[in-house]
């Protein structure tokens, strides 16, 4: 992988949560235009990786380094990472009662614009853009005025995450189990959203337990995480093999 310039370069990353080591020397490179799937058994560190990259407080990096477009990601505050073009789609998006979805979206877009020295987005144009993306996500107009994730079903929350991603247009999207808890129709909508933003300039890391999502979003690379490090990498066929054989054989090989 070393030949091309990576958008995200993770080298020997070690991290712990509540004093407990979770990531134990993880190395991974993600190039522009690529979609990577991170798979692995429960507790292997998939979500921890996502949170460490997004800078969640309490997820302590104890070794290694992460470069995002040449910048040392770990030294950046979470909001700076977001403004630099990193997006985390949450597995369990939190409810923020009373705060309109559209208000949060606009604040997020304007925060990124401000960081780039751009003026605030025009409210009218912005609404047009959001509506366009909402149509793609099959979301009704009433979503805009509802509180952030307030009273949303599991599927609505996940679609809302993808909507935010589509509006924010990040360089790198990390989607943490975005497929979990979705019925097949919702899964297709979410996959269409993810596919719509694939481009040579942008990359995506899909953290997932099952290969189901990968039927709709074809990954360029599949990695298996075991005990906090990449135990095996391959192409799309690896996901199918995992589906057939489970994770134990990889864990066995890695040991």
């Amino acid at each position: 992988m070393g030949a091309r310039t990576a958008m995200l370069s993770i080298e020997d990353l070690q991290a712990r949560v509540d004093g407990k080591p979770i990531l134990n020397g993880l190395t991974l490179e993600v190039g522009a235009g690529e979609v990577h799937a991170i798979m692995g058994p429960n507790g292997s560190g998939k979500s921890t990786l996502a949170y460490v990259l997004a800078g969640r407080p309490g997820y302590e990096v104890t070794g290694g380094r992460v470069l995002f477009e040449g910048r040392d990601l770990i030294t950046l505050a979470p909001e700076e990472r977001a403004r630099a073009g990193l997006f985390l789609g949450f597995q369990y998006p939190v409810e923020i009662p009373g705060v309109n979805n559209v208000y949060l979206l606009k604040a997020a877009v304007n925060a990124a614009r401000k960081a780039r020295g751009l003026p605030e987005v025009d409210a009218f144009e912005f609404l047009g853009l959001v509506r366009e993306k909402m149509a793609l996500m099959r979301m009704e107009d009433s979503f805009l005025s509802r509180g952030v994730n307030e009273g949303f079903s599991g599927g609505e929350k996940k679609r809302n995450e993808i909507l935010q991603m589509l509006v924010l247009e990040p360089r790198l999207a990390i989607l943490d189990e975005t497929d979990s808890g979705l019925d097949i129709d919702a899964l297709k909508v979410v996959a269409a959203g993810v596919n719509s933003q694939r481009s040579p300039e942008r990359a995506c890391v899909l953290v997932t337990h099952y290969q189901r999502l990968l039927e709709y979003v074809a990954p360029d690379f599949v990695h298996v995480l075991v005990r906090g490090r990449i135990a095996k990498s391959g192409d799309r066929s690896l996901a199918l093999e995992l589906e057939r054989r489970g994770y134990d054989w990889v864990a066995g090989e890695a040991a």
Binding site: E79, P93, P97, A107, A111
Partner: protein
């Protein structure tokens, strides 16, 4: 403490923005309180004899009363003889006839506070009465209001121009014997606003009063009286601020509202008195009695308050639901930060048949602040079919503040319905991180989450105030979270 909580605590800072003092020559009576002082105030205001007598009765009654201590607040002893009960900018003798006669320094003061008094500079649609220490210094849009038949003037002017209304209504909602601070106010009140909306008139603009305490060692004792005659409507806004000082200052106001048949009074307050410093020194003691009387059938009184300032707030805007089918509402956001204390809430007294009341209280506590909701819903035997809904939510920021709820319900009519909902929550690290991960700063995220929490109250505020209220909230809670 979590990482984000630490980050948040570091944000403390901008502080109180209205803490400046205006250097202006004042006519201030020496500290102390006795019958001579009361007579002096009454004489300065050229009051009719009935009012002087009323004040004296109040003073005599007050001397028999004891300062109340039942509220959930710690109050440093108040020396009532060390307070000056009257202070007025000297430039104002008989009151300016027009804005051109107002001392430019005063105009400057209000401009600095964001309350420009020049009508041409003012947002159309809001008339302002500006009260500086003990006197009203300017009232705008008087002519336009007069054309609609609405009386909106300083209280002391109303005493001269409409003595019959004053005599009929003053003390009819809050009698001079009501409580320690209201009784004190009845004896020494100096100015405030007076509103009369005649039958069937919908007041053509928002009315507002801006109270400013400036002089040292004075108390502010204003008295506001609003009468909405049959079928009328008025929306009234009240704002306040004071200089930053190490001593506590007393503000003991009384507000009386009277709504006759089918009348609707909407009363909004954004209270931003100086709250004291981070260590709890100084700040205003805001001990206020506000009560509305839904005297007529299908009358409607709605209180909305956003309380961000004051060292101690002690107030319970209430509704006496006398008229059949009358409606009382109370929407409140009270925030305490640093060492602020608030004991606030409402009383809904249901007397008439089919009376309804709604209480929505949002308490936000940060720093070492103590926030108490105290409410009484009283259903008298006569109140057939009365209904009340109460919602009481507390938001805590950090681990050193407190939220307390004392809801009292006395239902003496079996057909009444009383509902109470309560919740206590914290701004969670998850909510904060969610916002941060979208590129939003901690400060903006906190403001956003708090505004969301207060949304159901803010939406009751008139537009002009809603924005101000959100900004004030942001300033008063700066950096205070966990």
């Amino acid at each position: 403490m979590s990482e984000s909580a630490k980050q948040l605590e570091q944000l403390l800072g901008r502080g109180y923005q209205h803490g400046f003092v205006t250097e202006i020559d004042s006519d201030t009576v020496p500290p102390g309180l006795d019958e001579d002082v009361v007579r002096l105030i009454s004489r300065k205001k050229q009051e009719p004899a009935f009012l002087t007598e009323w004040r004296l009765k109040a003073l005599r009654h007050w001397l028999t009363m004891k300062e109340p201590h039942w509220a959930h607040v710690k109050v440093a002893p108040i020396d009532y003889q060390a307070i000056s009960y009257y202070s007025a900018p000297r430039s104002k003798k008989d009151g300016p006839k027009s804005l051109d006669e107002v001392d430019p320094k005063l105009l400057e003061t209000y401009a600095k506070l964001g309350v420009p008094l020049h009508e041409r500079a003012r947002l159309a649609g809001v008339a302002v009465d500006a009260v500086f220490d003990s006197v009203s210094v300017a009232t705008t849009f008087k002519e336009r209001l007069a054309a609609a038949g609405v009386v909106f003037c300083p209280f002391s002017e109303a005493v001269r121009t409409h003595p019959e209304l004053i005599e009929q209504y003053l003390g009819s909602v809050v009698p001079y014997t009501d409580n320690f601070f209201a009784t004190l106010n009845s004896a020494v009140f100096t100015d405030g606003s007076f509103v009369y909306v005649p039958k069937g008139v919908r007041c053509p603009m928002e009315l507002s009063t801006y109270f400013r305490i400036n002089a040292m060692n004075t108390g502010q004792f204003e008295r506001t009286l609003i009468i909405a005659d049959v079928g009328s409507y008025v929306s009234y806004l009240e704002g306040c601020s004071a200089p930053q000082r190490d001593e506590n200052q007393l503000h003991a106001a009384v507000v009386e509202l009277i709504a006759l048949d089918d009348a609707y009074i909407k009363y909004s307050t954004v209270q931003n008195w100086y709250p004291g410093d981070a260590a709890g020194r100084g700040g205003i003691y805001n001990f206020v009695t506000k009560r509305g009387d839904c005297r007529g059938r299908n009358s409607h009184i709605s209180w909305t308050q956003v309380e961000t300032g004051s060292a101690i707030t002690w107030k319970y805007p209430s509704c006496v639901l006398r008229g059949e089918g009358s409606i009382g509402e109370f929407y409140s956001v009270a925030t305490v930060n640093n060492h602020q204390q608030a004991d606030t809430g409402t009383k809904m007294i249901h007397i008439g048949r089919n009376t309804r009341s709604t209480i929505v209280s949002k308490g936000i506590s940060a720093g070492h602040g103590q926030n108490t909701y105290r409410g009484l819903v009283k259903i008298l035997p006569s109140a057939h079919g009365a209904r009340n809904f109460t919602q009481c939510d507390s938001l805590l920021m950090g681990g050193t503040c407190g939220a307390h709820t004392f809801p009292y319900v006395e239902a003496k009519n079996p057909t009444a319905t009383v509902e109470h909902e309560a919740s206590t929550s914290k701004i969670s690290d998850e909510q904060l991180f969610y916002c941060l991960s979208r590129g939003i700063t901690t400060e903006d995220a906190v403001n956003m989450i708090v505004s969301g929490f207060c949304k159901s109250v803010f939406k009751e505020l008139p537009m002009e105030f809603a924005v101000e209220a959100q900004n004030l909230l942001a300033v008063s809670l700066e950096g205070a979270v966990g």
